[in-house]
């Protein structure tokens, strides 16, 4: 997942002034942070509530509980029977869903602006009144198992990704899949869900983001009315993990029914800690774009178009997360080429980067794309709210967004070369290979294994 996380500050690049509204924020007495992004282009609104609790907060043997609880949040409260949440939102013309990641769990509704009070009433209600029954749990955990089979067990590339993460991280909970290991899903029960809910679903562990055709002052009043009465909770201290240094290359193979082999090379990299002072994460973002930010970027140009050693390639890095990050390269070898050929070609690209750096032209191109992306972003109210919610949930705060944009524009070619040299080295590397198996082979691999939408 590579998302450019910035904010509306494109004034930096072009002289044009966009009709851009400010971001307003206020924290209620119970600790709920409310952030409002006004956008009056269409009479719609999105409500997103972000809980700072993701799969990285799970304990051994309980993987998947964050995501299972996300499903159970639709199963009714003392006042609103199971299924009624979705029915009321649908009847209001709304669209809704939820998603769980390593770092957070979030719920959203998109509606006509007039229906925001309803969405707030329902969302606030399930923040503290959820009904958790053994019956609903038993049914829903089966749905989650089907989700796991569909998204991971029967998807060779997802399986490779899941197993790569389990190898790349020795201690950090990013080693566990968001959806949970199948054996954990089989052993979870409704009590685990109740414990998780009590532990994390509190106003002082959440951020409410409202974006759209609204007035901030009115939203704050509405939020006070619907959420203000929910009591704050004492949050248990979080475990902090420091992933031990990797002391040499790791290699692994995953066999699954498929036609094409696949290669993934993942390097441990830092993430933003002090956005004003840091420079390496920004240089890594630019590096990822130089390699794979557009069709003419290095990997596609060199490996797919010129050398024809790969039929597809990719590079990814995310500078903003609660835990550590990986810089990832991937390639599908061309017909007649092997994963070794692809690995050699990727290593040549890294060597070239370290030896000769990136050109001024490449740097300029990537930065132009970043700035244009800031303008295009204005076309999606939902995405703007997403950025705010993510930044708040990972602890950097939405005010970091414009800082990131400025810092990205300031990255130099030499900095890009330096981070390539510092981090794209074997001691940091996990190499994962998908070894395709014929379909006629033995029946399904019983194997366990990212973001999950309800």
């Amino acid at each position: 997942m590579r998302i450019y996380l910035f904010f509306v500050a494109m004034l930096l690049a072009s002289g044009q002034h966009i009709a851009q509204a400010e971001v307003f924020e206020r924290t209620l007495a119970n600790g709920l942070k409310v952030i409002v992004k006004e956008d009056h282009r269409a009479p719609v609104v999105v409500q997103q509530i972000w809980y700072r609790a993701g799969s990285m907060d799970e304990r051994t043997g309980k993987t998947g509980i964050a995501h299972v609880l996300e499903h159970l949040m639709f199963k009714g409260t003392r006042k609103v029977p199971a299924g009624e949440f979705s029915r009321q939102i649908a009847a209001a013309g709304g669209r809704e869903n939820a998603f769980t990641s390593y770092d957070y769990t979030a719920y959203f509704q998109q509606l006509h602006k007039s229906r925001l009070p309803l969405a707030m009433k329902l969302e606030a209600d399930r923040m503290h009144n959820l009904n958790l029954s053994a019956g609903e749990f038993a049914k829903e955990v089966r749905v989650v198992m089907e989700e796991r089979r569909m998204r991971t067990d029967d998807q060779p590339q997802a399986l490779l990704q899941e197993k790569m993460m389990a190898v790349a991280y020795q201690e950090h909970p990013y080693q566990n899949p968001v959806i949970g290991w199948m054996s954990d899903l089989e052993s979870l029960d409704v009590t685990d869900a109740a414990v998780w809910y009590r532990q994390w679903y509190a106003p002082n562990n959440a951020t409410l983001v409202i974006a759209g055709d609204v007035k901030a002052s009115e939203v704050f009043a509405l939020a006070q009315r619907h959420y203000g009465g929910i009591a704050r909770r004492v949050l248990q201290p979080r475990r902090n993990f420091t992933e031990p240094a990797q002391l040499g290359i790791k290699r692994m193979v995953v066999k699954a029914p498929a036609e094409l082999p696949q290669l993934v090379m993942s390097y441990h990299t830092p993430v933003l800690q002090q956005p004003e002072q840091d420079w390496q994460p920004y240089a890594l973002e630019i590096l990822a774009s130089v390699l794979d930010g557009n069709e003419s970027a290095r990997l596609n140009k060199h490996l797919v178009r010129e050398q024809q050693v790969a039929s597809s390639v990719g590079a990814g890095y995310d500078s903003a997360s609660r835990g550590p990050s990986l810089f990832t390269l991937q390639a599908t070898p061309s017909t007649g080429k092997t994963v070794d050929d692809a690995e050699t070609a990727l290593r040549q690209e890294i060597a070239l980067l370290i030896r000769e750096g990136v050109s001024a032209e490449e740097l300029k191109r990537v930065k132009a794309q970043v700035m244009a992306g800031e303008v295009y972003k204005l076309d999606s109210v939902f995405y703007q709210a997403m950025q705010i919610g993510q930044m708040e949930s990972i602890g950097l705060g939405h005010k970091t967004l414009p800082v990131m944009l400025e810092k990205l524009q300031a990255v130099t070619a030499e900095q890009v070369r330096e981070v390539a040299q510092a981090y794209l080295k074997d001691d940091n590397l996990t190499v994962a290979v998908l070894d395709p198996q014929p379909l006629s082979g033995k029946s399904s691999h019983k194997v366990e294994g990212a973001d999950h939408v309800r």
Binding site: S86, V143, D153, E218, A221, A258, L260, E295
Partner: protein, 447 residues
């Protein structure tokens, strides 16, 4: 604080009674080149979206040359007279422009998003104009892209979802070109020549059949010039291209295919409706109730909410020039596939026999009417509507009339329209990763 909140609620109630929305003002004309142009002027964001669509989808392929249409579309931006593929992608990236496209059975389209400031806009449109009107279809690149496509097709042939999709289209459409895989077959793609692409391009990428959708920060005068610039030099062809008619009545066929996956992928369906079907709205609203309405549909309720049998279950109509497929789909672990299949069939049969309840229809209307604003809340979505309205000859008032059409649908109309279009006794069922014993005895053959 509380007073303000009350006021907002009162205001909200007022709004409810008047959800009529300002729909975008669509300007429409024919360019001198003969293309149909739809334009919405909007200066809120300094950017421009443009899409050019032509009837050049995979349904214009033949079985022997399946994949030519897709490859023609794919190679448009891989080199033109005077521009290499790298010049094109670099030229767009330099100015932060996003070049894209879409391709399906009916339609091939090329789309552009760019900043609207003159330098960026002009460069992006210049490249787009050459891609559309002077593609070179270089031999070396065709050879490379054939290899890539063939390996992707081979990969798809191992994945249960793709296997099921392909088998489904084939059984539902038989000899009709909607049966052809959108990107072609391994054998036919291997035979594609650059001359095939040039011939296909000359026959199908014509200005008089093109639809130009323009949305965003330009004036009418500029939009007129853009439409001209993008289509004036398209090849001229007056050949009429007609598709054979879809055979609507098909026999009941169940196809079970063995696969080592843990889940069975189940698809059920038949030819459904065309974009111009007079029953479009009754079928559309009815399908929302049956399996289109997310978490509140009947299928979702029966299969997932009540029994936990699947993560995803849906139904849809694919409205195309000719009747596109009606399809129900789900995935569930092998051991319970037959139970789930039976449940889905019963749910469908009951819906066809009895139709929805008044209460269900009311809820559907509330969602589709109340949520209309979400359909047109971004430039991107409006651009897509412009393309669809132009391509399928829908009235320019399509968006203005949408909610009224939905409001008018009755329970009787839905029951009647479904009864005429969907025959549960004569549908195709494809199960990939079928429960072991049965799959082996069937051996992937029809039965």
């Amino acid at each position: 604080m509380f007073v303000k909140a009350e006021l907002l609620c009162v205001a909200a109630l007022c709004c409810l009674t008047n959800l009529a929305l300002a729909t975008p003002h669509i300007q429409n004309w024919q360019s001198a080149s003969g293309a149909k142009v739809l334009f919405v002027e909007n200066h809120d964001i300094p950017m421009l979206d443009v899409a050019v669509s032509v009837p050049a989808g995979s349904s214009f392929d033949t079985t022997e040359k399946s994949g030519v249409a897709g490859m023609t579309h794919h190679l448009l931006d891989k080199g033109t007279a005077g521009l290499s593929e790298d010049d094109i992608s670099r030229g767009m990236a330099d100015i932060g422009a996003q070049f894209g496209g879409s391709f399906d059975q009916d339609r091939a389209s090329v789309s552009l998003r760019t900043l609207s400031s003159a330098a960026e806009r002009d460069q992006a449109l210049n490249i787009m104009a050459r891609v559309l009107q002077q593609p070179a279809f270089p031999d070396a690149i065709l050879t490379r892209e054939k290899v890539r496509l063939i390996s992707a097709l081979k990969e798809a042939e191992t994945q249960p979802e793709s296997i099921a999709d392909k088998a489904f289209q084939k059984v539902v459409y038989g000899a009709h070109p909607y049966a052809l895989p959108v990107s072609g077959e391994v054998v036919s793609v291997d035979k594609i020549t650059a001359q095939d692409l040039r011939d296909f391009y000359a026959a199908h990428y014509n200005a008089n059949r093109a639809v130009v959708a323009i949305m965003g920060d330009v004036t009418r005068v500029q939009a007129e010039a853009i439409a001209e610039q993008l289509t004036a030099h398209l090849p001229v062809s007056d050949g009429r291209i007609a598709l054979p008619a879809v055979t609507m009545q098909i026999p009941a066929i169940e196809q079970r295919v063995a696969h080592p996956a843990s889940q069975s992928h189940i698809l059920i369906g038949a030819p459904g409706m065309s974009r111009s079907d007079p029953d479009y709205f009754p079928l559309y609203v009815g399908n929302y109730i049956l399996g289109g309405g997310g978490f509140v549909s009947r299928l979702m309720n029966e299969v997932r909410e009540k029994r936990g049998l699947a993560y995803s279950v849906y139904s849809y109509f694919m409205p195309l020039k000719q009747p596109g497929a009606f399809q129900i789909g789900l995935q569930t672990k092998k051991e319970q596939a037959d139970e789930a299949l039976k449940l889905v069939r019963n749910t469908l049969a009951e819906f066809i026999a009895q139709g929805p309840t008044e209460k269900e229809l009311r809820a559907a209307r509330q969602n589709l009417v109340g949520g209309f604003a979400l359909r047109i809340d971004s430039n991107r979505k409006i651009l897509d509507y412009l393309s669809i309205i132009g391509f399928y000859d829908l009235p320019l008032t399509y968006l203005d009339d949408f909610t009224a059409h939905v409001e008018r649908v009755t329970v009787a109309q839905i029951r009647d329209a479904f009864a005429r279009h969907i025959h549960p006794q004569a549908m195709v069922t494809v199960i990939v990763g079928a429960p072991e014993a049965k799959a082996e005895s069937a051996g992937g053959e029809n039965k």
